[in-house]
């Protein structure tokens, strides 16, 4: 259980990577942009991959009537997400420490993992909602209005995950280093829970053996 607890302490610390590295990355390439424009989505705001990428994406998007990319203060998520992550790191480390001193068992490790997964899914849902609004809530006076074959106006929601062709742009949306560190950290807590469960089981077996021997 001591090994499991150490892993449980280390796992949540990986989430701190989200403060240094982006969670998600969206790249936009086009014939005119052999070096694609890109945005890095951090938990505290959106940044351009290169210095002027956001300004240039906004400049292009004005033709199709998209809103400008929100600044850090313009979305509540960028205030709340960092607090949630810090909270979950503190909680996870605390659970690990308590496990180390034998105060809680592996079920608490599993509990942390489940809570983090639920929060993660909620975060993704929220992110997708924003992408949908960003891509479809268009200025009615947009310079370029494209109509789909079925007569509905074309929207420009970037994919949540993967590749999509949008007008002249090739859009690729993928998790970034911060997200991978989060996945690793979460996996470690799952490993900790498993080891904890196994050691408890073998502990029980040993006791059973002892009892039989006695």
């Amino acid at each position: 259980m001591k090994n499991a607890s150490i892993i449980m302490i280390i796992g949540p610390l990986f989430l701190l990577g989200l403060f240094a590295f982006p969670l998600w990355n969206i790249m936009l390439g086009a014939p005119q942009y052999p070096e694609p424009l890109g945005m890095n989505i951090h938990i505290s705001g959106i940044e351009g991959v290169s210095e002027f990428d956001l300004q240039n994406i906004d400049g292009l998007n004005h033709y199709i009537g998209m809103k400008t990319i929100p600044k850090s203060g313009e979305m509540w998520e960028f205030g709340v997400f960092p607090k949630v992550i810090i909270g979950m790191v503190v909680l996870g480390v605390l659970i690990g420490l308590l496990g180390f001193f034998g105060k809680v068992d592996f079920k608490w490790f599993l509990g942390w993992f489940v809570l983090m997964s639920v929060l993660g899914v909620l975060g993704m849902y929220d992110f997708n909602e924003w992408l949908t609004d960003y891509g479809s809530n268009l200025d009615p006076h947009a310079i370029i209005k494209v109509i789909n074959e079925d007569g509905t106006p074309m929207t420009y929601k970037p994919p949540l995950l993967g590749y999509q062709k949008m007008l002249n742009f090739d859009v690729t949306s993928l998790p970034s280093i911060g997200a991978y560190m989060m996945f690793v950290g979460m996996s470690l807590t799952l490993v900790a829970a498993y080891i904890g469960w196994k050691s408890k089981k073998s502990g029980a077996k040993q006791q059973l053996k002892k009892a039989v021997a006695a």
Binding site: F52, G59, F183, S187, V191
Partner: protein
């Protein structure tokens, strides 16, 4: 436990896979083709990049052109000494001061010899310098923006031809006069040239940080013609060598009268010695009047300052500073090999090349083996300094470059060929014809300690039938030879713009990564900049009307302007708001007596418009900037001079 380790490693591996994709394809052209045809050697496939930059002087275009090698594709014409309507250089208010001289605004020159800055004798790719021949000037061009940043006029000089060659740590850019003149200028009979005219050799210091130029000293030499020059390097660093002709000091019919002496001189200048003399207070300050023009990248504006003094040096006052090396037959090119040992004088009326030895020269100086003197300057004995003679069999040798592998390549104007020969043995290895009458040749880094001996480019004076005819006036022709093998191989032929004299080449990998993409708007300190559309305005100051205008895809702010009157002087100050690579906006207004403006992202440029007729006059973007470029237009209402209409401006109302 093991399984879970795999799971974690797998996740990490997945992450690595995703983050490692998307690297750009930076492949070079067709490589690894051992027995490839010549076509393959010069073929740079669509989207791929050349291996070298070649900067060719524009000659009578006054500019500098940028080519790729081996493809021969032209990338840019950099305006230097000539007005350039394409970008507004020399027309815009910001760049007009660049062409200021002591003769006033001089909108043209004859640019000859580009040379790239060096550190420890190797190309460092910070700047390229070039001389203006006619109204003596030296320009410095940035190799991050590829724009002219500075021009300094050279006083007491005329026909600034033995220029602009730099010393091996870019301590100096050196400019020598081809035509000797009275110094100071004087109203005197031309016939009194001999013994009275002077030849000024100017050592212009280069600030190691900013590159700013300043004339440190001028050596006032006897009144010969100082034709070409090159610095010593390696062991001969600290010396500079100039070829001379017309040591006869003829002032008329030079083609005959300056060709009488069997030998003229190469002047060997110990500039370190003169620098020391000057640093210790030597030399004479002389009243002068010359322009120093500096372009400031943050204000996007040039300023011109007139300098009033120059430090001159009498070489006979500094023992051991200057010597003459007799060199046959009116030598033209003066080239120093990568080791610094051999100084090659190309006697243009001869069949042979004369090679002097630096070591022998030093020994002769130390042994005081002089063969008389000229105007107090010791002449060394020809036999004492001669390293060897190349019996070429060609006619009219002009210039020599080096491949860094012990070979030299010399152009022959009259016999129209490039001759490859071996340093030290002086044997001719190969010869190939040029088309036609070659002047200079260029090997990238060929005049440094470290040449990149893969190609040689021959720049010809006569084109004739090489390309489809275009009437009597033709572009010049260049040939590209592969010199990576034992012999030269002619692999390509391409036209060059203007009249290239010399060129300078450098590996693309040194320059390409630092080539600037945009100017940062946040760093724009132009006094009339419009840093955001909200700052756009129109201000009247008497008859002057200043329009602070911004551009972004695809509109001007403002685009409707009223209240301008006939007789006003309207300044259009255009600031390009874009911060995206290769998105310039242009500006043109009907009836402007100047040129268009081509404004790079983050830049501000100004053009003056003096409306002469009442009416509503359009302006528009001249660069096809975007899908709505054709919509990028506006109007200025011009009212009679006595009208009471107030200034007003708007966008989208």
């Amino acid at each position: 436990m093991k399984k879970h380790t795999y799971l974690v490693l797998g996740l990490l591996g997945f992450a690595a896979l995703l983050t490692s994709c998307g690297n750009g394809n930076q492949g070079k052209g067709s490589s690894g083709a051992l027995n490839s045809s010549n076509a393959e050697k010069v073929y740079v496939a669509p989207g791929e990049h050349d291996e070298f930059y070649a900067f060719m002087s524009g000659g009578y275009s006054g500019n500098l052109t940028v080519y790729g090698l081996p493809s021969g594709r032209m990338f840019k014409e950099i305006p230097v000494f000539s007005q350039f309507a394409t970008s507004g250089y020399g027309y815009s208010e910001e760049t007009k001061p660049m062409l200021n001289t002591s003769f006033g605004f001089v909108p043209w020159d004859d640019s000859h010899h580009p040379d790239i800055s060096q550190t420890n004798g190797e190309l460092d790719g910070r700047w390229i310098f070039i001389n203006g021949n006619n109204t003596p000037r030296i320009a410095r061009i940035s190799l991050t923006t590829f724009e002219t940043e500075e021009i300094i006029e050279v006083p007491n000089s005329a026909g600034n031809h033995s220029s602009s060659f730099i010393t091996e740590n870019t301590e100096y850019v050196v400019a020598g006069t081809r035509f000797s003149v009275p110094v100071p200028q004087a109203d005197m009979p031309i016939k009194e040239y001999k013994g009275n005219f002077k030849g000024a050799l100017s050592f212009i210091s280069v600030d190691p940080e900013h590159g700013h130029m300043d004339i440190k000293f001028q050596i006032l030499m006897p009144g010969f013609n100082y034709d070409l020059s090159h610095p010593g390097r390696g062991k001969s660093h600290g010396w500079f060598f100039f070829t001379t002709y017309n040591t006869e000091e003829a002032n008329s019919l030079l083609e005959v009268n300056a060709s009488q002496n069997d030998k003229d001189f190469i002047a060997a200048i110990n500039w370190k010695k003169i620098e020391e003399y000057v640093n210790n207070g030597g030399g004479t300050k002389m009243p002068a009047n010359y322009a120093h023009n500096v372009y400031d990248e943050s204000t996007h504006t040039a300023t011109s300052t007139m300098k009033k003094e120059v430090l001159t040096v009498d070489p006979t006052k500094i023992p051991g500073a200057v010597f003459f090396l007799p060199t046959p037959k009116s030598p033209h090119g003066c080239d120093v090999d990568p080791s610094g040992e051999y100084i090659i004088g190309n006697g243009k009326l001869s069949a042979d090349l004369t090679v002097h030895s630096f070591d022998k020269m030093i020994a002769a100086i130390e042994g005081k083996k002089f063969d008389g003197e000229a105007y107090g300057i010791p002449i060394l004995k020809f036999e004492d300094v001669l390293a060897g003679t190349v019996k070429s069999g060609g006619l009219g040798p002009l210039h020599t470059e080096f491949d860094g592998e012990g070979n030299a390549y010399t152009t022959f104007f009259i016999s129209s060929e490039v001759v490859m020969w071996k340093l030290g043995t002086w044997e001719v290895i190969d010869r190939k014809p040029t088309y036609y009458s070659v002047g200079h040749l260029m090997i990238p880094g060929g005049n440094s300690r470290k040449p990149f001996g893969k190609y040689v480019v021959a720049m010809n004076k006569i084109t004739k039938d090489r390309y489809l005819p275009t009437g009597p006036e033709l572009e010049h022709s260049a040939q590209l030879y592969d010199i990576s093998g034992d012999k030269m191989e002619l692999i390509y032929d391409f036209p060059t713009h203007g009249e290239p004299h010399y060129a300078a080449g450098i590996p693309a990998e040194i320059l390409a990564p630092k080539s600037q993409k945009i100017y940062k708007l946040a760093e724009n300190k132009h006094p009339y900049a419009t840093l955001g559309p909200a700052d756009a305005k129109v201000v009247r100051d008497g008859k002057d009307v200043h329009i602070y205008m911004s551009t972004i895809r695809s509109h001007f702010t403002p685009d409707n302007i009223e209240g301008v009157k006939v007789g006003d002087k309207v300044y259009f100050h255009i600031t390009n708001q874009e911060q995206d690579f290769d998105v310039p906006h242009g500006f043109a207004v009907i009836g402007a007596n100047t040129s268009e403006l081509l404004v790079m992202p983050g830049q501000t440029k100004t053009i003056i418009w003096e409306p002469k007729q009442v009416g509503v006059w359009p302006f528009y973007c001249t660069d096809f900037c975007s899908a709505l470029h054709q919509e990028m237009q506006g109007y200025v209402r011009v009212s009679p001079a006595n009208s009471n209409i107030e200034l007003s401006w708007s966008l989208g109302e």
